[in-house]
């Protein structure tokens, strides 16, 4: 009897996994004193979504690479709830000796931390370990929506919550001179997409990876990328800002101050809608532990094994680590603080 090859390979993989329970030596590229830090330890990546989604797939591709590099056991914990705040609180409250990382979009984490006083923290409580990939937001729309057409002046959008829609739809619509009405309460991107298909709404915002996948079914259009230059993964799709962008096209003929104001709004949107999928560590982690954890995470993010594992799951990887990653996240935080009064005004006008 010959077993299917996939079963044979799986049996071998299971055997290898069992054998790998034996402690593995830490990667020699890590600082020398890190081996003792990792010995017998567990590394936890907290994902604020359910298992099986995009962030979870990345995290599960990263965990075995971290295990191989550190010799410690790396695991993924899914902690959905509270719009990601449950996971933020879990990481923030971790004991200083625990090696734990939050994996979420910086554009989701920053507004939560800065606007929700009940979390009782600031961005100084989180440190950036690295960015896995940056994915701009897009507008996913029903067929027939032509944003370049000046007669397109009103759109109805689907969203889970009004707050999360403020930047990619509310502010972007303002920049385009389009009146947007949000129907809030749909349960995530799947429900948003279904609402467009049923004709209840015209569009919804979605990350580029999600939107590209949705477009493959030919049921929906990718109407706009919230960037200021064409994205390599979607070169044919119009962009919001920059030269030749949709703002420029729709505001041609308007007085110069109004054009400039719309461009300014567009810049805010582009700054805040380019979601870096970021790994954060609690700032109060013990310094030595943190240094080793960060070194291991940097090595894992830049490892060809991680790239191969993520890409096998159809997840692109464009890692950014070190001061460059800190700078990207700090820039988003500054842009958010600058835009906050405007966003609060927008929220008041869109809420009941």
């Amino acid at each position: 009897m010959k077993l299917p090859s996939c079963l044979r390979y799986t049996a071998l993989a299971a055997l290898a996994a069992v054998l790998s329970l034996e402690p593995v030596a830490a990667d020699p590229s890590l600082p020398t004193d890190c081996a003792s830090v990792f010995q017998g330890q567990r590394l936890t990546i907290v994902v604020p979504n359910a298992a099986g989604g995009g962030y979870d797939l990345y995290a599960r591709a990263l965990a075995p690479v971290l295990t191989a590099i550190t010799g410690a056991t790396a695991q993924v914990t899914n902690l959905p709830g509270g719009g990601g705040k449950t996971a933020i609180a879990r990481v923030n409250e971790a004991p200083p000796s625990e090696m734990v990382a939050l994996f979420d979009s910086a554009t989701d984490v920053i507004p939560s931390v800065l606007s929700d006083a009940t979390l009782g923290m600031t961005m100084a409580d989180l440190e950036v370990l690295g960015i896995v990939h940056s994915d701009p937001e897009t507008w996913l729309a029903r067929h027939g929506i032509d944003l370049a057409d000046p007669s397109t002046t009103r759109l109805i959008s689907a969203a889970s919550m009004i707050e999360s829609n403020l930047i990619p739809v509310g502010l972007a619509s303002l920049a385009l001179g389009i009146e947007s009405k949000v129907i809030a309460g749909y349960n995530g991107s799947v429900e948003n997409t279904a609402a467009i298909l049923r004709g209840e709404v015209d569009m919804a915002s979605a990350s580029l990876t999600t939107a590209l996948r949705a477009r493959e079914t030919n049921d929906l259009d990718l109407a706009l990328v919230l960037a200021d230059s064409p994205h390599p993964a979607a070169p044919d799709v119009p962009v919001l800002g920059g030269p030749g962008g949709m703002i420029e096209r729709r505001s041609a003929g308007l007085p110069a101050p109004e054009r400039a104001e719309r461009q300014r709004l567009g810049e805010i949107v582009v700054a805040l809608a380019n979601g870096p999928r970021t790994l954060f560590a609690p700032a109060r982690m013990e310094p030595r532990t943190k240094a080793c954890f960060e070194a291991a995470m940097t090595a894992a993010l830049e490892s060809p094994d991680f790239r191969a594992a993520a890409e096998a799951r159809k997840r692109p990887v464009t890692p950014v680590t070190g001061p460059e990653a800190d700078e990207i996240v700090a820039r988003i935080a500054t842009a958010y603080l600058d835009a906050r009064p405007l966003l609060e005004m927008l929220l008041a006008s869109q809420s009941r």
């Binding site: 567990r42 309460g185 298909l197």
Partner: protein, 651 residues
């Protein structure tokens, strides 16, 4: 016709050929592991399998994931029937009648009926799926927020008539269930509602934690020293046989078919889920022809058949939105979509045309898995039924520990344990004071679903994107609601006050407790925060009004404190559970559970020189077992207790 039959043949050949068939069988076995044990996530297991199967051929992957989708459903019902522990949220409806049957010496029959209903439901679901698949896309677009809202409302209307001696108490329980379902955040503004600043409550009370508390832990409170409980009836082949269970499913073929169709329809609606399917099916079973609502909840086999058929039929339906539009309706669907994407399979039109053979492969693997689990369930029924011979008071501690650890394992936090404990106390009091638990639970399960879809429908009406009377689905569900209302008006209320237990005389005490709870929530809702919508306020103030009426009536009828005291044997578990959150905060989970076990064993052991030693051994074993399990198996790290922090500070 070849366009239809050729892909069907490909699907059948892919599944039922050697050695391919090994893959779905392996998937079924894998899926059973978490299904037996609540809280060990089936989704996490499937997510791990994504990594394992990255290099597999698409057909092999579909065979495995079809089986993982199907096999995860039925086995949770066995623990629900035997031990009152729902293996997953959707098997909670099965315990309503399944566990009373097991206590009445009919465990074998209940498990057999459950397994058979599962197989038949799954088969019907798959047949409907096969028939609809080529033309499913327009159909799926008919299920919008308006249809969902009315569907939830139908479930609620149907259940209000289920066993109760007082329509007023059923109404109060329903309103309370709906109100507690709204704890979390407002679906439109996403502003927190009745969360008291706890992030863990932003998504509301977890359904599994609530069900574990309300049924399992609440039941355990009354198990200690339950020597006076009616013993399990001796095995009597004429009353308890697997064959009788199988036959019952076919005797109630109309009910089985209706429930399976409900499950299939629910499965087709993304985001609704098996819990709603099973409870709505249970509710309509109680309204079926010849059904006596008073028997439901007491061990009526129809209360086992309906939810089981619905839950397993749902699996087939749930594949449709993923295959047709790439829209997953559940965690399992999200994983399946990831799998399709990873292996270059495009959901949507391609999976229904050129890839139809692969779609059927997935469907038949799911069917095979469901049939295998049912066959195993039937085979295990006689052995499993023997477990009911164990003395119930001896089961109390193990079940208590399993349920508590499970609740922590759900999301790796203590919040779910607190939810489970809170609902355990409430559930015990519901039982003790003879209040109807089923309307409360169904209202709780459906409450958030109803509110979300009502609010979406209102918004769509405002912007002119919804014309309800032009939607066939809306008209059909409105017809079902009208039928249910008509049925309710014809049926007299079940039971009388005279049939209620002695504790019912103390009803004003319980009504007053609930009134304080509802009034507290109602007063908070007056703060004017946007989360407290008109819907939320109407519900909570209606609950206050109905509870006040019940209290007044009870006092007028001479009710009072007499009979309110808990039976002596129930006091320790009740107080211990109530104090557990405090104990965990002080000592940490393993030590707090060890203390609970120690006290329990001391009080249950006759005085003697080994009494303390025995208690210490059991307590140590329980504490060490829980600590090791959380640390090594479940890989959960809980926040340090006050004691640990103080010790750390000293060291």
């Amino acid at each position: 016709m070849t366009e239809f039959f050729d892909p069907l043949g490909i699907g059948l050949a892919n599944v039922f050929s050697w050695p391919n068939i090994l893959i779905p069988l392996l998937g079924t076995v894998l899926a059973m592991i978490p299904s037996f044990l609540p809280g060990i996530g089936a989704a996490s297991l499937a997510a791990i399998m994504i990594a394992v199967t990255v290099t597999w051929e698409p057909v092999s992957v579909l065979l495995l994931f079809g089986a993982l989708t199907g096999g995860a459903t039925f086995m949770g019902s066995i623990t629900a029937i035997l031990f009152n522990i729902p293996g997953n949220a959707s098997s909670a409806a099965v315990l309503l009648d399944g566990h009373p049957m097991a206590r009445d010496g009919q465990a074998r029959m209940a498990i057999a009926a459950s397994a058979t209903a599962s197989a038949v439901g799954s088969l019907i679901g798959v047949l409907v799926l096969i028939a609809l698949l080529p033309a499913v896309r327009p159909l799926l677009l008919q299920f919008g927020p308006a249809e969902r809202f009315l569907f939830g409302l139908w479930g609620l209307v149907a259940i209000i008539a289920v066993p109760n001696a007082s329509a007023l108490r059923a109404l109060a329980a329903t309103l309370l269930g709906l109100t507690l379902a709204l704890v979390g955040s407002d679906p439109v503004s996403s502003a927190p509602r009745w969360t008291f600043g706890a992030f863990a409550l932003f998504e509301g009370f977890g359904h599994v934690a609530m069900l574990l508390g309300f049924f399992t832990l609440a039941e355990v409170i009354s198990w200690r020293r339950s020597y006076d409980l009616k013993p399990v009836a001796p095995v009597d082949a004429s009353r308890d046989s697997a064959r009788a269970g199988i036959r019952a499913v076919f005797r109630h073929w109309g009910l089985t078919g209706r429930s399976a169709l409900i499950g299939t329809a629910v499965g087709m609606i993304p985001g609704v889920g098996g819990t709603v399917a099973s409870f709505v099916a249970y509710a309509q079973a109680a309204q079926g022809r010849g059904a006596d609502p008073a028997r439901f909840g007491q061990g009526d086999i129809r209360g086992v058949i309906a939810p089981e058929a619905a839950v397993d039929a749902k699996d087939g339906g749930s594949l449709l939105p993923v295959l047709a539009f790439g829209l997953p309706g559940s965690e399992g669907g999200v994983i399946l979509l990831s799998v399709l994407t990873i292996h270059g399979l495009t959901p949507g039109a391609p999976m229904l045309t050129s890839g139809l053979g692969l779609s059927y492969t997935l469907i038949f693997a799911l069917l095979l898995s469901n049939l295998v689990t049912s066959a195993l369930g039937l085979a295990l029924a006689p052995q499993a039924a023997r477990l009911t011979r164990l003395r119930i008071d001896r089961l109390a501690l193990p079940v208590l520990l399993v349920a508590l650890v499970t609740s922590v394992q759900l999301n790796g936090t203590l919040a779910d344990l607190h939810v489970a404990v809170g609902f355990a106390l409430l559930g015990y009091l519901f039982k003790r004071f003879d209040w109807p638990r089923i309307p409360f639970v169904i209202a709780f399960v459906l409450g958030g679903f109803i509110e979300t879809n009502l609010q979406l429908s209102q918004q769509l009406l405002e912007v002119g994107r919804l014309q309800p009377l032009q939607r066939p689905g809306v008209l059909i569900v409105l017809g079902l609601i009208a039928l249910s209302l008509w049925w309710m008006l014809r049926k007299p209320a079940a039971g009388t006050a005279a049939q209620r237990g002695p504790a019912a005389r103390a009803e004003p005490v319980f009504a007053a407790l609930l009134l304080v709870l509802a009034l507290g929530l109602a007063v908070i809702s007056l703060t004017g925060a946007p989360a407290y919508s008109g819907f939320a306020q109407t519900l909570v103030w209606s609950a206050v009004a109905v509870l006040a009426l019940i209290l007044t009536r009870g006092l007028r009828a001479g009710g009072g404190l007499a009979g309110a005291a808990l039976p002596a044997a129930h006091r320790l578990p009740f107080v211990a559970l109530a104090a557990l959150p405090l104990g965990i905060w002080l000592l940490g989970l393993p030590l707090a559970l060890a203390a609970l076990v120690g006290v329990w064993v001391v009080l249950d052991t006759p005085a003697g020189r080994w009494r303390i030693v025995r208690a210490a051994v059991w307590a140590g074993a329980a504490g060490a077992g829980v600590a090791l399990y959380l640390e090594r198996v479940a890989a959960i790290r809980l926040p340090p207790s006050l004691l640990a922090s103080a010790w750390g500070g000293l060291v």
